[in-house]
Point group: C2
Protein backbone atom coordinates (compact mmCIF):
# COMPACT_ATOMS: atom_id res chain seq x y z
CA UNK A 1 0.00 0.00 0.00
CA UNK A 2 1.26 3.46 -0.89
CA UNK A 3 1.88 5.74 2.07
CA UNK A 4 -0.01 9.03 2.01
CA UNK A 5 3.23 10.99 1.61
CA UNK A 6 3.91 9.21 -1.70
CA UNK A 7 0.67 10.53 -3.10
CA UNK A 8 2.06 14.08 -3.11
CA UNK A 9 2.92 15.41 -6.55
CA UNK A 10 6.55 16.51 -6.81
CA UNK A 11 6.52 20.10 -8.03
CA UNK A 12 9.31 22.63 -7.45
CA UNK A 13 8.19 25.69 -5.43
CA UNK A 14 8.71 28.03 -8.39
CA UNK A 15 6.70 25.70 -10.66
CA UNK A 16 3.56 25.37 -8.51
CA UNK A 17 1.67 28.27 -10.08
CA UNK A 18 2.59 27.24 -13.63
CA UNK A 19 1.47 23.66 -12.93
CA UNK A 20 -1.81 24.94 -11.43
CA UNK A 21 -2.57 26.96 -14.57
CA UNK A 22 -1.81 23.90 -16.73
CA UNK A 23 -4.31 21.87 -14.71
CA UNK A 24 -6.92 24.63 -15.00
CA UNK A 25 -6.42 24.78 -18.79
CA UNK A 26 -6.74 20.99 -19.02
CA UNK A 27 -9.91 20.97 -16.97
CA UNK A 28 -11.48 23.77 -19.02
CA UNK A 29 -11.06 21.35 -21.93
CA UNK A 30 -12.38 22.64 -25.22
CA UNK A 31 -14.05 25.70 -23.69
CA UNK A 32 -13.15 28.75 -25.79
CA UNK A 33 -12.31 31.84 -23.75
CA UNK A 34 -11.92 35.34 -25.17
CA UNK A 35 -8.12 35.86 -25.16
CA UNK A 36 -8.53 39.30 -23.56
CA UNK A 37 -10.45 37.79 -20.63
CA UNK A 38 -8.61 34.48 -20.32
CA UNK A 39 -5.82 35.50 -17.88
CA UNK A 40 -8.41 37.07 -15.55
CA UNK A 41 -10.76 34.08 -15.67
CA UNK A 42 -7.95 31.59 -15.08
CA UNK A 43 -6.49 33.55 -12.16
CA UNK A 44 -9.89 33.75 -10.49
CA UNK A 45 -10.31 29.97 -10.90
CA UNK A 46 -6.77 29.57 -9.52
CA UNK A 47 -7.80 31.63 -6.47
CA UNK A 48 -11.10 29.84 -5.82
CA UNK A 49 -10.83 26.38 -7.43
CA UNK A 50 -14.33 27.22 -8.63
CA UNK A 51 -14.95 26.68 -12.36
CA UNK A 52 -18.26 28.56 -12.18
CA UNK A 53 -16.17 31.67 -12.84
CA UNK A 54 -15.54 30.48 -16.40
CA UNK A 55 -19.15 31.53 -17.06
CA UNK A 56 -19.87 34.02 -14.26
CA UNK A 57 -17.37 36.73 -15.11
CA UNK A 58 -18.86 39.44 -17.32
CA UNK A 59 -16.64 42.01 -19.02
CA UNK A 60 -17.68 45.27 -20.66
CA UNK A 61 -15.96 45.68 -24.04
CA UNK A 62 -12.19 46.14 -23.54
CA UNK A 63 -12.53 46.31 -19.75
CA UNK A 64 -9.27 44.37 -19.34
CA UNK A 65 -7.38 46.66 -21.72
CA UNK A 66 -8.83 49.75 -20.03
CA UNK A 67 -7.81 48.41 -16.61
CA UNK A 68 -4.27 47.65 -17.75
CA UNK A 69 -3.99 51.11 -19.33
CA UNK A 70 -5.06 52.76 -16.07
CA UNK A 71 -2.61 50.65 -14.04
CA UNK A 72 0.24 51.57 -16.39
CA UNK A 73 -0.62 55.21 -15.76
CA UNK A 74 -0.29 54.72 -11.99
CA UNK A 75 -3.99 54.77 -11.13
CA UNK A 76 -5.24 54.76 -7.55
CA UNK A 77 -7.21 51.66 -6.50
CA UNK A 78 -10.00 51.81 -3.92
CA UNK A 79 -11.09 48.60 -2.19
CA UNK A 80 -14.00 47.95 0.16
CA UNK A 81 -12.06 45.63 2.50
CA UNK A 82 -8.64 45.55 4.11
CA UNK A 83 -8.61 41.88 3.14
CA UNK A 84 -8.87 42.73 -0.56
CA UNK A 85 -6.16 45.33 -0.13
CA UNK A 86 -3.92 42.74 1.58
CA UNK A 87 -4.33 40.33 -1.34
CA UNK A 88 -3.13 42.71 -4.07
CA UNK A 89 0.53 42.40 -5.06
CA UNK A 90 2.24 45.47 -3.58
CA UNK A 91 5.48 45.07 -5.53
CA UNK A 92 3.59 45.01 -8.83
CA UNK A 93 1.59 48.08 -7.77
CA UNK A 94 4.76 49.94 -6.84
CA UNK A 95 6.48 49.06 -10.12
CA UNK A 96 3.65 50.84 -11.92
CA UNK A 97 3.45 53.77 -9.54
CA UNK A 98 -0.06 52.79 -8.41
CA UNK A 99 -1.47 53.44 -4.96
CA UNK A 100 -4.23 51.67 -3.05
CA UNK A 101 -6.64 52.76 -0.33
CA UNK A 102 -9.37 51.25 1.79
CA UNK A 103 -11.40 53.72 3.83
CA UNK A 104 -13.53 51.15 5.68
CA UNK A 105 -11.77 51.53 9.04
CA UNK A 106 -11.53 55.34 8.93
CA UNK A 107 -13.19 57.17 11.79
CA UNK A 108 -14.79 59.80 9.57
CA UNK A 109 -16.35 57.02 7.47
CA UNK A 110 -17.81 55.35 10.57
CA UNK A 111 -19.24 58.70 11.73
CA UNK A 112 -20.71 59.49 8.30
CA UNK A 113 -22.30 56.03 8.11
CA UNK A 114 -23.85 56.39 11.55
CA UNK A 115 -25.11 59.92 10.82
CA UNK A 116 -26.67 58.93 7.48
CA UNK A 117 -27.84 55.55 8.74
CA UNK A 118 -26.03 53.70 5.98
CA UNK A 119 -23.20 51.17 5.71
CA UNK A 120 -19.53 52.05 6.09
CA UNK A 121 -19.00 50.65 2.59
CA UNK A 122 -21.50 53.18 1.18
CA UNK A 123 -19.86 55.98 3.17
CA UNK A 124 -16.37 54.94 2.04
CA UNK A 125 -17.41 55.36 -1.60
CA UNK A 126 -18.54 58.91 -0.78
CA UNK A 127 -15.12 59.54 0.71
CA UNK A 128 -13.48 58.17 -2.46
CA UNK A 129 -15.71 60.42 -4.58
CA UNK A 130 -14.04 63.45 -2.99
CA UNK A 131 -10.64 62.47 -4.42
CA UNK A 132 -9.47 64.61 -7.30
CA UNK A 133 -8.58 61.60 -9.48
CA UNK A 134 -10.49 58.87 -11.36
CA UNK A 135 -9.87 55.50 -9.68
CA UNK A 136 -10.23 51.77 -10.16
CA UNK A 137 -12.75 50.41 -7.68
CA UNK A 138 -12.28 46.83 -6.50
CA UNK A 139 -15.40 45.83 -4.57
CA UNK A 140 -15.28 42.30 -3.18
CA UNK A 141 -17.58 42.48 -0.22
CA UNK A 142 -20.27 45.12 0.00
CA UNK A 143 -23.11 45.45 -2.50
CA UNK A 144 -23.93 48.82 -0.90
CA UNK A 145 -20.55 50.06 -2.21
CA UNK A 146 -21.64 49.17 -5.76
CA UNK A 147 -25.04 50.80 -5.27
CA UNK A 148 -23.35 54.02 -4.13
CA UNK A 149 -20.90 53.90 -7.06
CA UNK A 150 -23.87 53.55 -9.43
CA UNK A 151 -25.57 56.60 -7.90
CA UNK A 152 -22.37 58.69 -7.95
CA UNK A 153 -21.82 57.84 -11.62
CA UNK A 154 -25.42 58.61 -12.55
CA UNK A 155 -25.11 61.97 -10.77
CA UNK A 156 -21.96 62.70 -12.80
CA UNK A 157 -19.81 62.98 -9.67
CA UNK A 158 -17.32 60.21 -10.50
CA UNK A 159 -16.11 58.47 -13.62
CA UNK A 160 -14.19 55.32 -12.59
CA UNK A 161 -11.44 53.96 -14.81
CA UNK A 162 -12.73 50.45 -14.06
CA UNK A 163 -15.16 48.86 -11.62
CA UNK A 164 -14.34 45.37 -10.41
CA UNK A 165 -17.74 44.42 -9.02
CA UNK A 166 -17.50 41.09 -7.25
CA UNK A 167 -19.23 41.38 -3.87
CA UNK A 168 -20.40 38.08 -2.43
CA UNK A 169 -23.55 37.16 -0.61
CA UNK A 170 -27.26 37.17 -0.31
CA UNK A 171 -28.74 40.64 0.27
CA UNK A 172 -28.82 42.88 -2.83
CA UNK A 173 -25.65 41.32 -4.24
CA UNK A 174 -27.21 40.19 -7.51
CA UNK A 175 -29.11 43.47 -7.91
CA UNK A 176 -26.08 45.68 -7.21
CA UNK A 177 -24.11 43.89 -9.92
CA UNK A 178 -26.98 44.32 -12.40
CA UNK A 179 -26.88 48.06 -11.71
CA UNK A 180 -23.17 48.23 -12.60
CA UNK A 181 -23.72 46.16 -15.74
CA UNK A 182 -26.41 48.61 -16.85
CA UNK A 183 -23.89 51.47 -17.05
CA UNK A 184 -23.13 52.09 -20.73
CA UNK A 185 -19.85 53.99 -20.49
CA UNK A 186 -17.99 52.61 -17.49
CA UNK A 187 -15.54 49.69 -17.93
CA UNK A 188 -16.51 46.84 -15.60
CA UNK A 189 -15.61 43.30 -14.67
CA UNK A 190 -18.48 41.74 -12.71
CA UNK A 191 -19.04 38.29 -11.24
CA UNK A 192 -22.70 37.75 -12.16
CA UNK A 193 -24.79 36.18 -9.41
CA UNK A 194 -24.04 35.75 -5.72
CA UNK A 195 -20.45 34.61 -5.86
CA UNK A 196 -17.33 36.74 -5.49
CA UNK A 197 -15.27 37.94 -2.58
CA UNK A 198 -12.30 40.03 -1.53
CA UNK A 199 -10.02 37.25 -2.75
CA UNK A 200 -11.68 37.38 -6.18
CA UNK A 201 -11.35 41.19 -6.33
CA UNK A 202 -7.66 40.93 -5.46
CA UNK A 203 -7.11 38.14 -8.00
CA UNK A 204 -8.62 40.26 -10.78
CA UNK A 205 -6.40 43.26 -9.95
CA UNK A 206 -3.35 40.96 -9.84
CA UNK A 207 -4.30 39.34 -13.17
CA UNK A 208 -4.26 42.81 -14.75
CA UNK A 209 -1.00 43.81 -13.07
CA UNK A 210 0.78 40.60 -14.14
CA UNK A 211 0.06 41.36 -17.80
CA UNK A 212 2.07 44.57 -17.70
CA UNK A 213 5.49 43.89 -19.13
CA UNK A 214 8.32 45.68 -17.41
CA UNK A 215 10.87 47.53 -19.53
Amino acid sequence: MKSKELALERVLPEEIEKRSFELITMELGGKVLNPEYEPVIKRVIHTTADFDYADNLIFSPHAVLEGIKALKEGVRIITDTNMGMAGINKKALKRNGCSISCFMSDEDVAEYAMLHHTTRAYASMDKAAKLSEDCIFAVGNAPTALVRLYELIKEGIICPRLIIGVPVGFVNVVQSKELIMSLPDIPFIVAKGRKGGSNVAAAIVNALLYQIQQP
Copy 2:
Protein backbone atom coordinates in the same frame (compact mmCIF):
# COMPACT_ATOMS: atom_id res chain seq x y z
CA MET B 1 -41.86 48.63 -15.67
CA LYS B 2 -40.02 48.59 -12.35
CA SER B 3 -36.80 50.58 -12.29
CA LYS B 4 -33.67 48.67 -11.28
CA GLU B 5 -33.37 50.65 -8.05
CA LEU B 6 -36.80 49.38 -6.95
CA ALA B 7 -35.55 45.83 -7.19
CA LEU B 8 -33.19 46.40 -4.25
CA GLU B 9 -34.34 44.77 -1.02
CA ARG B 10 -34.75 47.28 1.80
CA VAL B 11 -32.64 46.02 4.69
CA LEU B 12 -31.20 48.20 7.46
CA PRO B 13 -27.39 48.17 7.62
CA GLU B 14 -27.36 46.43 10.99
CA GLU B 15 -29.80 43.78 9.72
CA ILE B 16 -27.89 42.71 6.57
CA GLU B 17 -25.93 39.89 8.20
CA LYS B 18 -28.98 38.55 10.05
CA ARG B 19 -31.02 38.59 6.84
CA SER B 20 -28.19 36.80 4.99
CA PHE B 21 -28.13 34.01 7.55
CA GLU B 22 -31.92 33.67 7.29
CA LEU B 23 -31.62 33.27 3.51
CA ILE B 24 -28.82 30.68 3.95
CA THR B 25 -30.95 28.71 6.43
CA MET B 26 -33.92 28.84 4.04
CA GLU B 27 -31.83 27.65 1.12
CA LEU B 28 -30.32 24.78 3.14
CA GLY B 29 -33.93 23.65 3.50
CA GLY B 30 -34.34 20.41 5.38
CA LYS B 31 -30.61 19.66 5.50
CA VAL B 32 -29.70 18.63 9.06
CA LEU B 33 -26.43 20.14 10.30
CA ASN B 34 -24.63 19.09 13.47
CA PRO B 35 -25.39 21.95 15.88
CA GLU B 36 -21.71 22.16 16.90
CA TYR B 37 -20.66 22.71 13.28
CA GLU B 38 -23.62 24.75 12.08
CA PRO B 39 -22.34 28.29 12.90
CA VAL B 40 -19.05 27.51 11.13
CA ILE B 41 -20.70 26.02 8.05
CA LYS B 42 -23.17 28.89 7.74
CA ARG B 43 -20.49 31.56 8.14
CA VAL B 44 -18.37 29.94 5.43
CA ILE B 45 -21.38 29.87 3.10
CA HIS B 46 -22.03 33.53 4.03
CA THR B 47 -18.42 34.34 3.02
CA THR B 48 -18.44 32.42 -0.27
CA ALA B 49 -22.09 32.10 -1.36
CA ASP B 50 -21.03 28.52 -2.11
CA PHE B 51 -23.31 25.83 -0.70
CA ASP B 52 -20.73 23.12 -1.46
CA TYR B 53 -19.34 23.91 1.99
CA ALA B 54 -22.43 22.36 3.59
CA ASP B 55 -20.86 19.03 2.61
CA ASN B 56 -17.15 19.86 2.19
CA LEU B 57 -16.29 20.90 5.72
CA ILE B 58 -14.97 18.01 7.79
CA PHE B 59 -14.60 18.33 11.55
CA SER B 60 -12.65 16.08 13.92
CA PRO B 61 -14.73 15.26 17.02
CA HIS B 62 -15.26 18.41 19.11
CA ALA B 63 -12.94 20.50 16.91
CA VAL B 64 -15.21 23.51 17.30
CA LEU B 65 -15.35 23.20 21.09
CA GLU B 66 -11.56 22.72 21.25
CA GLY B 67 -11.03 25.78 19.08
CA ILE B 68 -13.34 27.93 21.20
CA LYS B 69 -11.62 26.70 24.37
CA ALA B 70 -8.20 27.68 22.99
CA LEU B 71 -9.47 31.11 21.92
CA LYS B 72 -10.94 31.72 25.37
CA GLU B 73 -7.50 30.96 26.79
CA GLY B 74 -5.90 33.62 24.58
CA VAL B 75 -4.26 31.29 22.07
CA ARG B 76 -1.90 32.53 19.37
CA ILE B 77 -3.11 32.09 15.80
CA ILE B 78 -0.71 31.50 12.90
CA THR B 79 -1.91 32.16 9.33
CA ASP B 80 -0.20 31.45 6.01
CA THR B 81 -1.32 34.71 4.36
CA ASN B 82 -1.55 38.37 5.29
CA MET B 83 -4.94 38.29 3.59
CA GLY B 84 -6.23 35.66 6.03
CA MET B 85 -4.82 37.69 8.90
CA ALA B 86 -6.58 40.82 7.57
CA GLY B 87 -9.93 39.01 7.51
CA ILE B 88 -9.97 37.94 11.15
CA ASN B 89 -11.88 40.20 13.54
CA LYS B 90 -9.20 42.02 15.55
CA LYS B 91 -11.60 43.39 18.19
CA ALA B 92 -12.87 39.88 18.94
CA LEU B 93 -9.30 38.59 19.14
CA LYS B 94 -8.32 41.36 21.54
CA ARG B 95 -11.35 40.77 23.77
CA ASN B 96 -10.10 37.22 24.31
CA GLY B 97 -6.43 38.16 24.68
CA CYS B 98 -5.50 36.28 21.50
CA SER B 99 -2.64 37.23 19.20
CA ILE B 100 -2.11 36.52 15.52
CA SER B 101 0.98 36.20 13.34
CA CYS B 102 1.81 35.60 9.70
CA PHE B 103 5.48 34.98 8.97
CA MET B 104 5.17 34.82 5.18
CA SER B 105 6.78 38.21 4.50
CA ASP B 106 9.59 37.80 7.06
CA GLU B 107 13.10 38.05 5.66
CA ASP B 108 14.42 35.09 7.65
CA VAL B 109 11.58 32.96 6.24
CA ALA B 110 12.44 33.98 2.66
CA GLU B 111 16.13 33.13 3.29
CA TYR B 112 15.30 29.78 4.89
CA ALA B 113 13.00 28.88 1.97
CA MET B 114 15.66 29.78 -0.60
CA LEU B 115 18.37 27.87 1.30
CA HIS B 116 16.24 24.73 1.68
CA HIS B 117 14.65 25.06 -1.75
CA THR B 118 11.16 24.99 -0.34
CA THR B 119 8.18 27.36 -0.18
CA ARG B 120 7.93 30.31 2.18
CA ALA B 121 4.76 28.73 3.55
CA TYR B 122 6.71 25.59 4.53
CA ALA B 123 9.48 27.72 6.04
CA SER B 124 6.97 29.85 7.97
CA MET B 125 5.60 26.74 9.69
CA ASP B 126 9.15 25.89 10.80
CA LYS B 127 9.40 29.38 12.26
CA ALA B 128 6.08 28.86 14.08
CA ALA B 129 7.35 25.53 15.42
CA LYS B 130 10.07 27.38 17.34
CA LEU B 131 7.48 29.27 19.41
CA SER B 132 7.17 28.13 23.00
CA GLU B 133 3.38 27.84 22.84
CA ASP B 134 0.81 25.58 21.13
CA CYS B 135 -1.07 27.54 18.45
CA ILE B 136 -4.13 27.48 16.22
CA PHE B 137 -3.02 27.24 12.59
CA ALA B 138 -5.31 28.81 9.99
CA VAL B 139 -4.04 27.73 6.56
CA GLY B 140 -6.05 29.16 3.67
CA ASN B 141 -3.56 29.20 0.85
CA ALA B 142 -0.55 26.89 0.86
CA PRO B 143 -0.81 23.10 0.91
CA THR B 144 2.93 23.02 1.65
CA ALA B 145 2.13 24.63 5.01
CA LEU B 146 -0.20 21.73 5.83
CA VAL B 147 2.39 19.19 4.67
CA ARG B 148 5.00 20.75 6.98
CA LEU B 149 2.53 20.86 9.90
CA TYR B 150 1.86 17.14 9.36
CA GLU B 151 5.60 16.36 9.45
CA LEU B 152 6.22 18.50 12.53
CA ILE B 153 3.34 16.80 14.36
CA LYS B 154 4.53 13.33 13.36
CA GLU B 155 8.03 14.22 14.62
CA GLY B 156 6.51 15.29 17.95
CA ILE B 157 7.79 18.85 17.58
CA ILE B 158 4.42 20.63 17.71
CA CYS B 159 0.96 19.88 19.02
CA PRO B 160 -1.49 22.42 17.56
CA ARG B 161 -4.62 23.36 19.49
CA LEU B 162 -6.51 23.29 16.18
CA ILE B 163 -5.65 23.13 12.50
CA ILE B 164 -7.94 24.99 10.12
CA GLY B 165 -6.87 23.35 6.86
CA VAL B 166 -8.54 25.09 3.96
CA PRO B 167 -5.92 25.81 1.28
CA VAL B 168 -7.32 26.23 -2.20
CA GLY B 169 -6.04 25.04 -5.53
CA PHE B 170 -4.73 22.35 -7.74
CA VAL B 171 -1.27 21.09 -6.74
CA ASN B 172 -1.23 18.83 -3.66
CA VAL B 173 -4.19 20.62 -2.09
CA VAL B 174 -6.39 17.54 -1.82
CA GLN B 175 -3.48 15.38 -0.62
CA SER B 176 -2.32 17.85 2.02
CA LYS B 177 -5.81 17.93 3.52
CA GLU B 178 -5.98 14.13 3.58
CA LEU B 179 -2.72 14.12 5.57
CA ILE B 180 -4.22 16.42 8.22
CA MET B 181 -7.41 14.34 8.38
CA SER B 182 -5.29 11.22 9.03
CA LEU B 183 -3.95 12.67 12.31
CA PRO B 184 -5.74 10.90 15.15
CA ASP B 185 -5.14 13.33 18.02
CA ILE B 186 -5.13 16.83 16.53
CA PRO B 187 -8.38 18.82 16.31
CA PHE B 188 -9.01 19.91 12.73
CA ILE B 189 -11.52 21.66 10.50
CA VAL B 190 -10.76 20.85 6.87
CA ALA B 191 -12.44 21.79 3.58
CA LYS B 192 -12.25 18.47 1.76
CA GLY B 193 -11.29 18.76 -1.91
CA ARG B 194 -9.82 21.68 -3.81
CA LYS B 195 -11.89 24.52 -2.44
CA GLY B 196 -11.00 26.87 0.39
CA GLY B 197 -9.09 30.12 0.64
CA SER B 198 -7.80 32.78 3.00
CA ASN B 199 -11.33 34.16 3.21
CA VAL B 200 -12.62 30.74 4.30
CA ALA B 201 -9.86 30.39 6.91
CA ALA B 202 -10.71 33.82 8.31
CA ALA B 203 -14.45 33.05 8.31
CA ILE B 204 -13.87 29.88 10.33
CA VAL B 205 -11.79 31.70 12.96
CA ASN B 206 -14.44 34.43 13.16
CA ALA B 207 -17.23 31.85 13.48
CA LEU B 208 -15.45 30.44 16.53
CA LEU B 209 -14.74 33.88 18.03
CA TYR B 210 -18.37 35.02 17.63
CA GLN B 211 -19.57 32.08 19.73
CA ILE B 212 -17.65 33.27 22.77
CA GLN B 213 -20.04 35.13 25.04
CA GLN B 214 -18.57 38.13 26.75
CA PRO B 215 -19.09 38.53 30.47
